[in-house]
Each structure stands twice: as structure tokens, then as C-alpha cells.
Symmetry: C2
Subunit: 337 residues, 2 copies
DNA sequence: CTGAAAGCGCTTACAG
DNA sequence: CTGAAAGCGCTTACAG
């Protein structure tokens, strides 16, 4: 079987290839009859336009790049699945590009990626979505991009995030309602805006309930399981020991749970533990982790959807949206006695 | 700044664009002096060939597709990272395509993918790498592909797998050496060849140590955490209860651990538990899971590397390789008393 | 060793 | 409403 191209379609339908092109792209100025005829030939010949030829002519690749540097595999797969959904809907493809924010020459790396792969746009996930330097570079290069879970306030950046501060606030209030006042907190990676937002939510809840913030209860993590284990050790060694630990993500919370269990502490009777993200591990361990569910797929889906819209027809005002995070209580938190 | 194309390079270097093309592709028949000169202009102008134009002329896309349908996020990310490494090395890109083996019209789905995205090759991970139907289709369509972790014996398929049978054998022997004879086994998904291989390793070890296989100890899982939870319930309800459980992957093993802990069984004192894969969860829970480490990244890396080689210069004989799996003992297994 | 011509399968800009 | 021409940035096939 030979290849079906715009030429074979044109010949078979008895029209010029420009006309075929017009119906292909849903352009006006084709009589209903001709349009009908060409459409029929598409079906008969099972014609599928060659995206590469299209790309060359229009100087487009129909490829969106997705940047990430995140220790959480589940976060990455969720990001990918949201991005893929939006891409497929509009006949785009997704190119995944894991790289390091702190790696030498990030800008060079991205520049290389852009010129080598001719991406039509970029979706930035944390911590890239919080990098002003990168965003400035993209603006200057005139590359379309969308920000996922970014704290950057910028009128001309497409941005979809969730309300981390509020989520952390609610989780902390949940612990306070259970009678906890000595609530340890494990921070995330300083490059992520989520780190500050979640910490702020924690502080606001304490403040609102007139519980003084204790610096000794705050540990510096970086979202990795390993950093959670280090922080867990520091926290469980404290005297007096706090009655609850709120870790900035579920991996770190799982590390706290592991150490607590190793030390024969009963969770939640002796120690309440909470995480953030609602990663699979939160329900795969016992006791299950109380946590905050973030709509990661949905954020990414919307971001990519808007990015593609922006690429095909540039908008004056840009889409920005804050989605809700929601508290999920499981067995790892209970009343303090 | 204007675009740097083969034309600008040719003009600047004072040669024809064919000559530029020759040095670009490392073709012979260019005098060392001209080659040198053109290479210098590449640098000066920071020339990067447009892969889309190249693709159109050569009828190539420089894109490899990666097919997967796997409940394990960590498996997927490992597959991706191995595949990306090989792709980047040869200036290819990776297109990820999650889809369902059992979904209606898999072949149609793949056909669509192939013609729409003009992939140069496909890397198949389980369960696709075990689908004869899909492989036949690809052969007939003349699409290059490589198989990861496939059990299919086929002289003309590139294939990289690891020795699951041997891994399961060693793990079972490890349990036997600890004094266990009543060892429950949770199978994986029937569409994956790993399921049979791992079960065979388990049976071979029992046999070699003259321990009769007890059907009542064998549960049907499907690699998902959820199926592990169901199997765990069935197994822990048995009387007499086995002293050890070997789950075909770590997620299912984690589910067994969760239920055992809920039921106040001490692991490993009352029950030894082992998994397979060495997924992150195996070390994120307490007690850590004894398991078999598979070189997933390396398998995929090699498979994609060979696939790209095959694409660029078709080989007569095809690469096939079996990598070693290796036992990792952690706290979840101990002597039976 | 080097290059002019034609072509990959589309689209853009223009003319009718 | 329709189409002939030129072009996107490369490569292939051929001639010298």
C-alpha cells in the first residue's frame, strides 16, 4: 500500500491540494459540496496528514515539553497524565524533560532543548514554575509556557495552582481540634513555593488558636523520604516530644511513621502524623496517613489546555486559576491524651 | 536574531548546502579542509539543524514511542528514565503512550498512534511485550520495536529481560533457609509473563527442597496494591496460617504488611513477608521489605539503545540479553519459630 | 571531492 | 469559492 498524501487526496477528489488543505484545517471559503466530497475521500483513503510536513510548513512541532525535577514518582506520573490528556485532545504530543533546577547551566539546558526539539510550548512544574530566571528567559525568547503550582504573581503567565496555604491551615486546625498543641512541622525544599505556603498555613492556624509557634518543633526537609527520615530523628529525639507531626508531604510523613514504629511508638495513640499530597503511599501504609489531596492531574490538564489555546490563538488576558485542596483524614491522627 | 539554517551556513562558509549536509551527517567525500571550515561556521553561527525538516526529507521523526500499562508508578518512572537516557544519547525524543492492553481495539489505537505521530520505533514494556498479537502487527507493518521484560522467544525481536524465575527461586530459597515451609504466594497479573516466571521460580525452589506445593497457599493477584489487599485477607484467614508470604511485587507485599499490622501480627516474628521489584515502597515502610531488585532502567536503556541502532542501520542478528536480578534482604523476613 | 536540481508533504501569500 | 506558485529546511539521486 502506498502512502496517502495531500496529493493523492486532491487527485482522487478532483480538487487542488490547497482546497484539501482548507478542509483539513477547517478554513472557510469552501463550498459545502466540495467540503463534503473531500471529507468523504479522507475516509475512503484513510488519510492522516503528516504532522512533520505540517510542522515544517508552519514552523510548529505540535510538541509540548514538560519540565520536572521532583523526588516524588507519583507526582510526576500524575503530572504526566494530566498533561497527556490535554495534549491528546488537541493532537499534540508531550515530551518529558526531567532536569535539575540547581544543575549547572539550567538556562543553557533549556535553550538546547528548545532549539533542538522545536517545542511549541513548555509546561513548568515545581520547582521550575517558581524560577523567575527561567520565566524571564522564556519571555525574552518568546516561548509560550504555563505554570503549575507556582506562587509567582504575574499577569502574563498562564498559571494553575492549588490552595496550599489553606490546605495546610485546615490540616493544622484538624490537629488542633484533636487537642494537639505541640505540633512539629517538617518543611519542604526551599526552592518550592509550596514549602513556604504550607508553612504559612500551619503558622496561621496556630496563631488563630493562640498557640505560640515553637521554633524547636520546626525541621528543615526537602520533600525527599530521606530528608523526612533525618527530620524524624531530630523531632522524635526532642524532650518533651511533640504529640503530633505535620510533614509537608507524604513521603516525609511516611519516614516519620517508619521511625516512630521502629521506636515502638504507637501511631496515632502516642503520636499523630499527617502529610500532604495524598500520594499513593498515604494509603498503602498502616496506619493510613491523614493528608491534603491536591488536584495535580487537573492542575496540569488545565495548564496545558490553556497553553495550547495560547499557542493556537494568542489571548490578551491569560488564564489563572486556583483550585481547592481538600483534607483527607485517615488513621494516623487521633485525639491527644 | 534571524534563524540559522543550512542555507545561511552554506553561504557563510562559501560552500553548497549539500556539502554542509555532508559534514552534518558525517558523510565521507568531504576534504578535511572544507569539513574543518564548515564545522567552524557551525560553532560561530550556533547552528542547530531543524529536526523537523530533516524528518520530512528522510521520512523519519526521531521519536521513539514507549508503551506501558502498569499500576506501578515507580516502574513507569524507571522505564522512562532508562528510555530517555538512550534517546538523548542519540538525539531522539521519547513519546510516552500509556494505554490499556485489554482496552477495546488496542491494535487500532497503536495504528493511530503510529500514523499520527510517525514514530520511528516502539519500546514495549509488560504487558505489551508479551502480546503476540501486537508484535505480529508491528512486524507486518514493518515497524521497529524492542521488547522489555518479555518472555517471548523470537529470533527477530530485540529483547532485554531480567531473570525473574531465578530471582523468585533465590527469594524462595532464602525463606526456606530461614526455616519456612508454609510459604504463601501471591501471583501477579495473568497478562504479564513475569507472573508465570516468578511462580515457576517459587515452585522450583519448593521442589528442590522437597516441600510440597500447597494450592491453598497460592492467591491470584494482579500486581495492584488493591489485589494484594484482597489476597492478604484470604491468606491471613487461612488455618493453619502460613509463616511466610511471598508476593509477586512490592505493592502487593506492602498490602500484606498493612493487613498483618492491622491484625496485630508481628512482622517478621509472626509472619515473614517478601516482595519483588525493589520499588521505593519496599524501603519506605517498616519493616523494610526483603525483595528482588530488577535492573529496570538498564533493561529499558539497552532495549532503546538497540532499537535506535536497528533503526539507523538494520542488523542481521538482533540483540537479546538477560540481566541478573538480585536478592535484597531487609527486616521483613526472619527465621521461623 | 563538490554542487545544482528535485523532492519530502504540507502551508502561506497571492491571484483570479 | 478555488487554485498555481513558492517556500518551510533539510536529503536523495544524480552529474561532473
Amino acid at each position: 500500500m502506498k502512502k496517502v498524501t495531500i496529493n493523492s487526496v486532491a487527485q482522487y477528489a478532483g480538487v487542488s491540494k490547497k482546497t484539501v488543505s482548507r478542509v483539513l484545517n477547517n478554513e472557510p471559503n469552501v463550498s459545502p459540496a466540495t467540503r463534503e466530497k473531500v471529507l468523504k475521500v479522507f475516509k475512503e483513503l484513510d488519510y492522516r496528514p503528516n504532522p512533520i510536513a505540517r510542522g515544517l510548513a508552519r514552523n510548529k512541532s505540535f510538541i509540548i515539553g514538560c519540565l520536572y525535577d521532583n523526588p516524588s514518582k507519583s507526582y510526576i506520573t500524575r503530572v504526566q497524565s494530566g498533561a497527556l490528556e490535554a495534549c491528546h485532545k488537541h493532537n499534540y504530543n508531550l515530551l518529558i524533560h526531567p532536569c535539575e533546577l540547581r544543575g549547572e547551566a539550567l538556562i543553557d539546558n533549556i535553550d538546547q532543548l528548545l532549539t533542538t526539539s522545536r517545542l511549541d510550548g513548555l509546561v513548568l512544574t515545581p520547582p521550575f514554575s517558581d524560577s523567575r530566571e527561567l520565566i524571564e528567559f522564556l519571555k525574552q525568547k518568546n516561548i509560550n509556557y504555563a505554570l503549575v503550582a507556582s506562587a509567582i504573581q504575574d499577569d502574563d503567565s498562564i498559571s494553575v495552582c492549588s490552595n496550599d496555604e489553606q490546605g495546610a491551615f485546615e490540616l493544622t486546625e484538624h490537629l488542633i481540634a484533636l487537642g494537639h498543641t505541640d505540633i512539629a512541622f517538617i518543611k519542604g525544599h526551599p526552592d518550592h513555593s509550596a514549602t513556604e505556603n504550607r508553612f504559612n498555613g500551619y503558622k496561621r492556624a496556630l496563631e488563630q488558636h493562640q498557640i505560640p509557634l515553637q521554633e524547636r518543633l520546626v525541621a528543615e526537609g526537602n520533600f525527599s523520604y530521606h530528608s523526612g527520615a533525618d527530620s524524624a530523628k531530630a523531632i522524635l529525639d526532642l524532650t518533651p516530644r511533640p504529640s503530633a507531626v505535620f510533614a509537608s508531604n507524604d513521603y516525609m510523613a511516611a519516614a516519620v511513621l517508619k521511625l516512630a514504629t521502629q521506636r515502638q511508638l504507637r501511631v496515632p495513640e502516642d503520636l499523630s502524623i499527617a502529610g500532604f499530597d495524598n500520594a499513593p503511599i498515604a494509603r498503602h501504609i498502616w496506619p493510613g496517613l491523614t493528608t491534603i489531596a491536591q488536584p495535580v492531574e487537573e492542575m496540569t490538564r488545565q495548564a496545558v489546555e490553556q497553553l495550547i489555546l495560547q499557542i493556537s490563538e494568542p489571548q490578551d488576558t491569560v488564564y489563572q486559576c486556583v483550585l481547592e485542596a481538600r483534607l483527607i483524614t485517615r488513621e494516623s491522627t487521633a485525639a491527644n491524651h
